[in-house]
Amino acid sequence: MIRTRQEGFSLPEVMIILVILAILIAASQIPIANDIQLRRRASLHSGVRDLANWIELVRTRAAQGRVCTVTISNGTVAAGGVVASVAPAACGANHTLDAEVAAQTGPLAVSRNPATTIVFTTDGGAQPTSSVAVEGFNAVEVRLSSTTANRRACLAISNGTGSLRFGSVNSSTGTCTYTGPF
C-alpha cells in the first residue's frame, strides 16, 4: 500500500543521524588534529634545515679563503627576523626566519648554548670560542622552539669539523635528543 509520507523526519530518525554524524566527526577530527600538528613540526624542522643550509653557504664562502664569524640570535624571532648574522659582508647576508615557516610555527624562541660566536675557517671547519658537550662531543647547540608546535628543534654545530647534527624534543623547553632521522 502506498501512502503519502509525512514531510520531515521523526524524532528517532533525527537522533540516529545526529549520533552517526557525531561519531564520524569525532573519528575524522583525530587525524586532522594530528595532521595540523605534523605540519607545524615539519615547518619547525624545515626552519632548522634552512639554518643548516645557510651555514653550508657560509662554510663555502669561508672555504674560498676568508674567515666568517657567525652570531646566532638570542630571543624571540618573528617572520623576517634575524636568526643568525654573519660578518664580514663578503660572507653573505644574514639568515632570517622564513615567513611560511613562521606562519605554521608562530614566532620562534631562538637560543644558543653556550653564548658564543662561531668562526668558520678556511678549511671548512668551525671554531666556536667556547663549546659544551652535546651527546658526547663538543659543539654549539642552536635551539629553535615553538610553543604553537609544542616542539623544540636543535642544530648542533661540532667544534673543529663543524659537522651538523639535528635533534628535537616534544616540548618547547626540553633537552633535544639526536638519535634517529630528523
Partner: protein
C-alpha cells in the same frame, strides 16, 4: 504519535519532499570517505617532501665529512694504522686509518686517527689528533705543539678504507664515506694520494 514504518526500498510519491534515513546515511558515509581520502593524500604528500629533504641532508653530510677528510689529507705525508698518542677508539668504533703529518721544516711527526663504527654499523665518525688552528685570512694548520683533541666528523655515518692498512706507512688511501646506508644518499668514494712533505697531493672523486 504513530511512526511511519520504514520500508526498503523506500516507497513514496514523487511529489513528497525531504530525504529518507537511508539516503542520509549513504550521504554521510560517502562524505566521510571523501574527507578521509583527501586527508590521506595530503599526509602522503607531506611524507614525500620529508623524504626528499632527508636525501639532500644525507648528501650534504657525506660531502661535508669527505671535504673535511680531504683537507686533512692535504696536510698528510702518509698513512698508517697506528693510533695517535693518547687517543683511544670511542666505544663501538675502531681505527680506520691514521694520517701522518710532518711539518715541512721537520720536527715531530704527529698522527691524526680516524675512527668509525665497528663492522657494518653506522654511527659517529671521530677524529683524534692535533687541533686545527686558523688565523684570520690565512690557511688553517695543525697546532703540532698542542695535545690531541677529539672532533666529531659525522654522525649517522661510517668511514671505510678499500685496502686495509697493514702496519707499514703508505702513500695512497682510498676511503668511502657512507651516510645511513640503505636510505637514499649515494656513498662517496675518494682516493687520496699523500706525497712527501711539500710534494703535490691529489684526490679523486667518485660517486
Amino acid at each position: 504519535m504513530r511512526l511511519p514504518r520504514a520500508t526498503f526500498p523506500p516507497q513514496r510519491p514523487a511529489a513528497a519532499a525531504g530525504f529518507t534515513l537511508v539516503e542520509l546515511l549513504i550521504t554521510a558515509v560517502l562524505g566521510s570517505v571523501v574527507i578521509g581520502a583527501i586527508t590521506t593524500l595530503q599526509l602522503s604528500e607531506l611524507r614525500a617532501t620529508t623524504s626528499q629533504d632527508l636525501s639532500l641532508q644525507l648528501r650534504q653530510e657525506a660531502n661535508l665529512a669527505a671535504g673535511w677528510i680531504d683537507s686533512e689529507i692535504q696536510r698528510a705525508s702518509g698513512f698508517d694504522n697506528t693510533v695517535a698518542a693518547s687517543c683511544t677508539a670511542p666505544a663501538g668504533t675502531s681505527l680506520r686509518f691514521s694520517v701522518l703529518t710532518q711539518p715541512n721544516s721537520g720536527g715531530t711527526l704527529r698522527e691524526v686517527s680516524y675512527f668509525s663504527p665497528t663492522g657494518t654499523a653506522v654511527g659517529n665518525v671521530v677524529r683524534c689528533g692535533p687541533p686545527v688552528v686558523c688565523t684570520a685570512n690565512t690557511a688553517c694548520a695543525l697546532d703540532l705543539a698542542a695535545a690531541n683533541v677529539t672532533y666529531l666528523v659525522a654522525s649517522n655515518a661510517r668511514l671505510d678504507v678499500t685496502s686495509p692498512l697493514d702496519g707499514t706507512a703508505r702513500r695512497t688511501l682510498t676511503y668511502t664515506v657512507t651516510t645511513r646506508p640503505g636510505v637514499v644518499a649515494p656513498d662517496i668514494t675518494r682516493q687520496a694520494f699523500a706525497g712527501a712533505p711539500g710534494a703535490s697531493v691529489g684526490s679523486e672523486w667518485e660517486y
